[in-house]
């Protein structure tokens, strides 16, 4: 394919937009923890970004996009990005730009997962966990959906990563949260967000970046990208409003709820963004807001300390999105409503397999690291907070 400079311009910009989502997640999460852990929480996002950046050029890209091995994983063709050139081959953008665009997705995914270990993870253990997780969980899932793996072969649709990014990180967060255990005092003492404006800023950066995430996934600057941007925005707005409404029936409508609803809508539309029209996106976003709010309430009732709700929002929202794509697809593809039951079936099955794979592998990985290096800080370290105990820093002096 010949290089298209407009497409290249937009994917360069999209790569920047998605890159900013990782610190965006850090700020979103950082505002929700207690003050003594805010630096550590934001730093974790940076660390995820740095680690995955190196892993990706070293082997991650190759595992995801190298020549297919048994439908499960990519081959070593692109180790060290060798053979990934500055020309456009199968896409209208340079190969190396595609690798960069995919890199920022991989980094973000790991950062989302840090929800499950908030306020209690040992920094050094996370380095090991993170490198292994992105290699053993993210890279295969990316291969299945986008790298020529089995899911793509069977026709499962995942436009921008509902399964690859959100199911994997959401269910991964739940698994590691179960392994690492609840925060000291969870359920007894009140653990309130210390800086909600910071969370709102993080949400703004996420919404902003998500346009690159979804509309960039068209790998073109065209009508498809434009439609993806519009449905992305609509779903986000719908999710924000339904969560706001639902929570205002139960009590005060919190701002954190409103932006959580927006993110639920964004997650829900992610796999569908290239396949649905605006009215469908309204439904997908609105339902995502309600389902994820329900999931959050359920988690709280059960007393799971998946602390910052990656599971409720990204995991459950991603699952809904995958299924919804199978239902509502109408742009370029057809879904259940257009009579294509196969699409609905394969999308649902693909999502459930991803749920299972992400949960189980993350659980085992976390267990191994916990038994060997130890995932969790000591009680004293947790008590004084990770900012001081892991970084020797204080958020306000």
């Amino acid at each position: 394919m010949t290089l298209d400079s407009g497409a290249t311009a937009w994917i360069l910009a999209s790569t920047c937009l998605v890159m900013l989502m990782t610190p965006g997640v850090g700020l979103f999460y950082g505002g929700l923890v207690r003050r003594k852990n805010v630096i550590a929480m934001v730093a974790l996002a940076f660390l995820c970004y740095a680690l995955v950046s190196v892993q990706w050029v070293f082997c991650g890209y190759s595992l995801a996009f190298g020549s297919d091995i048994g439908g499960f994983i990519g081959g070593p063709d692109f180790i060290g990005l060798s053979g990934v050139g500055m020309e456009a081959t199968s896409l209208p953008i340079p190969d190396i730009l595609f690798a960069a665009f995919q890199l920022v997705f991989a980094a973000l995914t790991l950062a989302i997962l840090t929800s499950g270990v908030a306020e209690r993870i040992r920094l050094s253990a996370f380095v090991v966990f993170g490198l292994l997780w992105t290699t053993l969980v993210y890279d295969p899932l990316a291969h299945w959906a986008w790298g020529g793996g089995w899911a793509a072969s069977l026709g499962a649709l995942d436009f921008a990563g509902g399964t690859v990014v959100h199911i994997s990180s959401g269910f991964g967060a739940l698994a590691i949260a179960l392994v690492i255990g609840k925060r000291m005092g969870f359920g007894e003492n009140s653990i309130e967000p210390h800086n909600i404006p910071m969370t709102l800023l993080g949400a703004a950066l996420l919404w902003f970046g998500w346009f690159g995430f979804n509309a960039g996934s068209a790998i073109a600057a065209d009508g498809l990208a434009s439609n993806a941007l519009m449905v992305t925005n609509t779903a986000a707005a719908a999710g924000a409003l339904t969560w706001l409404l639902a929570s205002s029936i139960r009590g005060k409508p919190s701002s954190v709820g409103m932006v959580s609803g927006a993110i639920a809508g964004l997650v829900g539309i992610t796999p569908a963004a290239g396949f649905v029209d605006v009215p469908s996106s309204l439904v997908i976003g609105a339902v995502a807001g309600l389902i994820c709010y329900g999931a959050l309430l359920w988690r709280l009732k059960k007393g799971f300390d998946e602390s910052l709700d990656a599971w409720a929002i990204h995991g459950v929202g991603g699952l809904w999105g995958a299924i919804a794509t199978g239902i509502f697809a109408s742009v370029g593809q057809t879904g259940l409503l257009a009579g294509n039951a196969y699409q609905f079936g394969i999308n649902t099955i693909d999502a459930l397999i991803a749920v299972g794979y992400a949960f189980v592998v993350t659980y085992i990985l976390a267990m191994i690291i916990d038994k060997t290096i130890g995932l969790r800080v000591t009680e004293d370290e947790e008590y004084v907070g990770l900012d001081i105990s892991q970084h020797g820093e204080r958020a306000r002096s």
Partner: protein, 110 residues
């Protein structure tokens, strides 16, 4: 009249407030402070050495009560604040000569 100054763990604030409410004491003023006790704080080990975390966030609660209620209030605070671990905090009882309510001008000197 006495001013009771209690320095407690921030995470026990809700429990202490609840206990005081149940016992009928509402008025209070709280401040975010940092403190260290005789234990010199908490020592954390890391590869490079040891770090002493000496100033740990606490809540200081001030409650004005009449002299006869002092013991009751102290017991109530202790009930809410106690965890049995280092850093549970202190209570000081300070004499007060007079107390004035600005809105009503009411002066209590007991």
């Amino acid at each position: 009249m006495k001013l009771i100054k209690a320095i407690i763990k921030p995470e026990r604030l809700d429990a202490v407030k609840k206990a005081l409410e149940d016992a009928g004491y509402f008025g209070m003023t709280i401040t975010e402070v940092q403190g260290r006790g005789e234990q010199k704080g908490i020592s954390l080990q890391y590869r490079g050495g040891t770090i002493e975390v000496d100033l740990i966030p606490k809540i200081e609660m001030e409650i004005l009560v009449s002299a006869d209620k002092v013991d009751h209030v102290i017991e109530t605070i202790k009930k809410g604040a106690y965890t049995g671990k280092i850093g549970d905090g202190r209570i000081f009882v300070i004499p007060v000569d007079a107390s004035i309510k600005i809105r009503t001008g009411e002066v209590i000197t007991e």
